[in-house]
């Protein structure tokens, strides 16, 4: 069982290193998605399919897609346009191999369920929901205030002065 964990962990570490050392923002973000997927495989191996699904839906799905859209709209990394052809395998070979390894790892792990011997109980969404809204209700409410502080901060630090004219009418 352990071998599946180690493969996923190595994929996660390598792709995270690639994410923080890359020069192209989009490539870094794609590596980050790969790293999050690898982490979700680890969660699955630990008999926590719900957390694994959340990891994919929330991090790899929603947040990363948002990141990528913002990065694309800001035109970061446009300068090396010419080097980005798909015919150049150096650009995609590492990430493809890593993703392929992760996929094989995951499929083999699927066949070998039950996964981890150390955790004997599978935690389902119902249990998570019940404990979030009974035992840890106050913690959820505090998390709401934390998010509120974050939103206000993002608004304050990110807001710009109001423009009177439309941007198309501005003189360059």
């Amino acid at each position: 069982m352990n071998i599946f964990f180690y493969i996923a962990a190595v994929v996660a570490i390598i792709s995270t290193i690639m994410a923080i050392s890359g020069k192209n923002a989009i490539h870094s973000l794609l590596f980050l998605i790969l790293s999050l997927l690898a982490v979700s495989v680890i969660f699955y191996l630990l008999n926590a399919p719900f957390i694994a699904a959340l990891e994919v839906i929330i991090y790899a799905g929603a947040i990363m897609v948002l990141f990528i859209f913002v990065t694309m709209m800001l035109n970061v990394g446009i300068e090396n346009k010419n080097g980005n052809k798909l015919t150049n395998p150096r650009k995609w070979i590492v990430s493809s191999i890593l993703a392929a390894i992760l996929l094989v790892d995951f499929i083999l792990a699927l066949k070998n369920v039950p996964a981890s011997p150390s955790v004997d109980q599978v935690i389902l969404p119902k249990q998570v929901g019940i404990s979030l809204f009974s035992t840890y209700l106050l913690a959820v409410e505090i998390a709401a205030i934390l998010l509120m502080a974050g939103v206000i901060g993002a608004y304050h630090l990110g807001s710009q002065k109001k423009k009177v004219t439309h941007r198309f009418l501005e003189k360059k």
Binding site: A139, I152, L157
Partner: protein
């Protein structure tokens, strides 16, 4: 949730509702004075509510909260210092261009995070409190967006605080793996009577110490302190130096005494090492500083080094000494940063020692408050700092921590040198610089601080009696 639960959480609930109300007010109309008045009123209400919930305690809301006299005491300290910072912020924040009312919203959310640390009995609440506090602090530090140094300090704090949070979380996870509980009082029973800690638990404790050490700015996790203190707006610096550190100290003392950390030899050695390093490095680096905010930053590193000595005493008396020390440190530090805040404008931060040259001849009253605060930080008799240090040394000697106490005394002497350097600058002949006018709220706050420093220095008995009667873990 029962009525008692709600009642015992009253101060926290008031602090949580206030920012929402301010947001609604802002959405109707932006009025700086109304928001400011409402903030002060809310802090006062929260502070007053602490006295009303005394009959309801000790009360615990399983599994997250524990509300006892100890947590109420720290809640009082946190809310009162937040109130003082709010009082001082009026002029400084008012001069900012752009929106300003958000400052008070964030001040409330960060105070909520700090208050949660005082009532935490569970790793989840511990972490949520620390995160609420630090996310609010990123925003407060970088609040003045037009200034590069503010943004730089904000980003520095953001990155280093995230790393330290990661350490903290990893440590908690390791302890949970080993012991299967996240409640502070559950950990000690899970550890068992043997006293022998497994490597997993020890590495968990070590990682938690890294996270806490970062928040308290203990050596070797102190690198961010001078830069952040210098870059942040002056009232926010006061807030970081007092509220944030006091709250983390509250949770550290509770955690450490709950797990009986003082019985463990390796933890004792690590903490003594951190304490001695913090004292010496903090004081020695402060000597050459020309910037008063950086000087106070290094002095706060040294002060936290003195303060964690009491963790090693392992007695209730030690906790009482630390609470007294913390109160006097907070009042004194708010006094010092309060003077800096009142003499600064958002355009020009009065942070160089030259800015204080001849302050006594221009603004005698402000110079006296500043002198008093610095003397109290140095531990000169007739000020609160002296009694606090005396109390700390007394308890440390009783516990037989000779090496630590001797290095604390050596460091007090080193500290005196750089505090006196600032004081001599204030009494030297004046130069011609314009000083901003000081508002009524500013004067009231300085008055309050002066009186408390003197009362605690001359007649500390009543407070020590209160602390000895109530503060027990």
């Amino acid at each position: 949730m029962t009525v008692t639960d709600f009642l015992s959480l009253a101060p926290l609930i008031i602090i949580a509702i206030a920012p929402v109300v301010i947001m609604i007010v802002i959405s109707v109309t932006r009025n700086y004075k109304v928001v400011y008045g409402f903030s002060i009123l809310s802090f006062l209400t929260a502070f007053a509510s602490i006295f009303f919930i005394v009959p309801a305690i000790p009360h615990s809301i399983e599994p997250l909260f524990v509300i006892d006299i100890y947590s109420l005491f720290f809640l009082g300290i946190i809310i009162f210092s937040a109130l003082l910072v709010t009082l001082l912020s009026y002029d400084y924040i008012k001069q900012l261009d752009g929106v300003r009312e958000e400052y008070y919203i964030i001040l409330f959310t960060s105070t909520l995070g700090a208050s949660l640390l005082a009532v935490a009995n569970h790793f989840i609440l511990f972490f949520l409190g620390i995160e609420t506090l630090s996310i609010s602090l990123y925003i407060l530090i970088a609040f003045q967006r037009s200034k590069d140094s503010s943004i730089e300090a904000g980003i520095k704090y953001l990155i280093l605080a995230s790393v330290s949070s990661a350490f903290l979380l990893f440590g908690m996870a390791l302890i949970y793996t080993a012991l299967g509980t996240m409640q502070f009082n559950g950990i000690v029973s899970a550890l068992g009577e043997s006293g022998q800690l497994s490597p997993l638990v020890i590495s968990g404790f070590a990682m938690i110490m890294v996270g806490i050490g970062f928040k308290l700015a203990l050596v070797p996790f102190h690198m961010w302190t001078p830069d952040v203190y210098q870059g942040a707006p002056a009232p926010v610096t006061a807030y970081i130096a007092t509220v944030s550190k006091g709250a983390v100290m509250a949770v550290l003392i509770r955690f450490f005494f709950n797990i009986r950390g003082f019985d463990n030899r390796s933890l004792l050695i690590v903490i003594s090492g951190i304490a001695i390093l913090s004292m010496f490095i903090g004081n020695l680096l402060a000597i050459r500083q020309k910037n008063i905010k950086r000087l106070l930053a290094y002095s706060s590193i040294a002060n936290m080094g003195y303060l964690i000595i009491i963790l090693l005493t392992g007695t209730n008396k030690g906790i009482q000494a630390s609470v007294f020390y913390l109160i006097s440190y907070i009042i004194t530090t708010i006094g010092a940063f309060g003077v800096i805040t009142l003499l600064s404008t958002c355009k020009y931060e009065a942070e160089k020692i030259e800015d204080y040259k001849g302050l006594f001849w221009k603004r005698p009253w402000v110079a006296i408050v500043f002198t008093l605060s610095l003397l109290s930080l140095a531990g000169i008799p007739l000020t609160a700092g002296f009694v606090a240090k005396f109390y700390l040394i007394f308890e440390g000697m009783k516990a037989g921590l000779m090496v630590l106490i001797i290095s604390m005394i050596i460091n007090s002497v080193i500290g005196l040198y750089y505090y006196l350097r600032v004081i001599t600058a204030m009494f030297s002949p004046a130069n011609e610089t314009e000083l901003p006018a000081i508002s009524l709220t500013g004067n009231i706050t300085l008055c309050l601080i002066t009186i408390s420093i003197l009362i605690l220095g001359v007649y500390p008995g009543w407070l020590i009696d209160i602390i000895m009667k109530f503060v027990n873990l």
